[in-house]
Symmetry: C2
DNA sequence: GGCCATGGTCAAGAATTTCTTATCTGTGCC
DNA sequence: GGCACAGATAAGAAATTCTTGACCATGGCC
């Protein structure tokens, strides 16, 4: 019984007092009179059996017991507040926070967001670019768009596949004019990106050259940690990139980049739409998913006439 | 203001209900009637604006909002409970939890604990061997004994130096009989330990040989992650260990190990007594610290007649 | 089919907690 | 000395939380 928690209101009063190091300020924060706060602290100290604050003449300071208690209450109430915000978000159909990788955000999502905003003016969309965010409650995110393999072991997640990705060499029209056969690439600057490197099998130049039936030239040329930077470099004429179609779509259609070969590398990795199970039925999330699917469908035009080789089939 | 926390009693009721997935069981845990619990949940749902549980015929299940809230409340209340236990511990003068490294626990602390228990029968001592434990509140530890450098930047810690450590070759009397000069060691099995390796400069065989004015023989021989295991191996006649005097004290006095050379390596690293600032005045902690100091004083006998070289002075 | 046990809900009044008002104390500062 | 400040105390008021003693729906059992 001695381990059971003391009255929570008293704990909260202590937390506020410890944060402000002032009973008066804490009382103001909690919208109560200083007298009430003083009473709460006193009752908590009685529960504990020893004082938590040392009352100095016009300030208070924590006793050792108070110092032991304060960080934990701060953590505890912060966790409760975060949880409560997460629960409130569930009922909120006016704002929608989406996290996606930086490359996809820059090259695909951001340019199209205006379309979604026009179709759904009632929804306030917020983007959080980054790869690491994955705790929906903690990070206050509603939807995650991720490139990779479906783990399948996430029980409480709703997950759908958005598009099948494929990769092929891409370059500016001027540069592409000098390319006749895959062998020509050996003499050119190849741009590498790290973020398809982690795939197994990796979707990199070596894999593409194997698919083309030739040995890969020595690994050289600049490396980029983000695919969009590699693509931007190619747009500037810096070299040939093994581009991801999802990211390059707009540049291809606009003629800023061309694909000199039909040969395209496919991979088991997909773009996936992920949200907490049950969230997919909330109207604004359902609307966003539907919009994504309809927008991404257009990408399949570019599939026609291409020759696909799966990275898994040509693994060394 | 919508972000402000709802009534905490209601949150706690929800937490219990979510953990048990049963209102009746939650009510029993909190020592209230099911009606009271039902009322609390309902009031929480009103605060949130949507239901947290779906009431099935003879069970309840969480809604999406409930699933978003539940893990956070569990974390939050666990943090509060931990903090409260930590605060209670401060007023408790009957039990004392000490953490020390595994080697020091095995070779020095544990054999002497009986003496402390006899001198202070009112204190219940608990040992927690391990190197990683350092959060006094989180891990519910009162005192830590650590070997290493004083960081000095820990504002809210009380820290005193227990002993100056030194190292010298040690072996069984039989094995030591074959050792005349440092050069003889080259042909023998040297036992290595990893836990003085991290020191800077490291307190290892290479350093001792440098101090002895000769090149270290090739790094060979068994390695131990814990110093007490290396010492135990030496006691079994497996080889020569560069032993730490604090750990070997008893074996040296008993004649189970001998030190064939006067040459001893000292280091800037110390054994330190560490506790939260202010805790050092609590009677049972003060008693323990005093006892440690008086016990460790005896070790200085072994200093007489030895030749000390600081590891820092002979760094390569 | 009827009955009972189970698990949750509701409403009213009781009990307890929590808050306010008003007054008081000690200390530093002008 | 007197004032302002920061907190403490006491008594009564307000709010909350709880219990009692109903009720309801459902599934299993005889």
């Amino acid at each position: 019984m001695a381990d059971r928690l003391p009255p929570l209101t008293a704990l909260r009063a202590f937390d506020a007092a410890a944060r402000h190091m002032s009973f008066a300020a804490a009382a103001a924060e909690l919208n109560v009179t200083p007298a009430a706060l003083s009473f709460q602290i006193k009752s908590l100290e009685e529960h504990l059996g020893q004082p938590l604050f040392r009352r100095l003449t016009r300030a208070v300071e924590l006793t050792e017991a108070g110092r032991a208690l304060a960080p934990g209450t701060a953590d505890g109430f912060a966790a409760l507040a975060r949880a409560w915000r997460a629960a409130r978000r569930v009922g909120d159909t006016t704002s929608l926070t989406v996290t996606a990788g930086p490359a996809f955000t820059a090259k695909w999502l951001a340019p199209r967001l205006f379309g979604f905003a026009r179709a759904h003016p009632e929804v306030q969309l917020r983007l959080a670019a980054g790869l690491s965010i994955m705790d929906f409650d903690r990070d206050e995110v509603d939807v995650a768009l991720r490139f990779g393999y479906s783990t399948g072991d996430a029980q409480d997640l709703y997950e759908t596949c958005l598009i099948r990705e494929w990769m092929t060499p891409m370059a500016t029209p001027e540069l592409a004019a000098q390319i006749g056969s895959p062998a020509d690439l050996a003499g050119m600057t190849l741009l590498h990106q790290d973020d398809t490197q982690f795939l197994d099998p990796p979707g990199n130049w070596a894999a593409w050259f194997r698919a083309a039936g030739m040995a890969a030239p020595e690994e050289a040329g600049p490396r980029f940690s983000q695919a969009d930077h590699a693509l931007d470099a190619a747009l500037g004429g810096a070299g040939v990139v093994l581009g991801r179609i999802s990211l390059a779509q707009d540049d291809i259609r606009a003629g800023r980049l061309v694909m000199p070969f039909d040969l395209s590398l496919t991979t088991e990795a997909h773009y996936r739409f992920i949200c907490p199970k049950g969230a997919e039925t909330r109207p604004h999330i359902a609307a966003f998913e539907a919009w994504l699917h309809s927008e991404l469908e257009q990408i399949t035009d570019l599939d026609t006439g291409r020759c696909f080789v799966a990275a898994a089939d040509i693994a060394p």
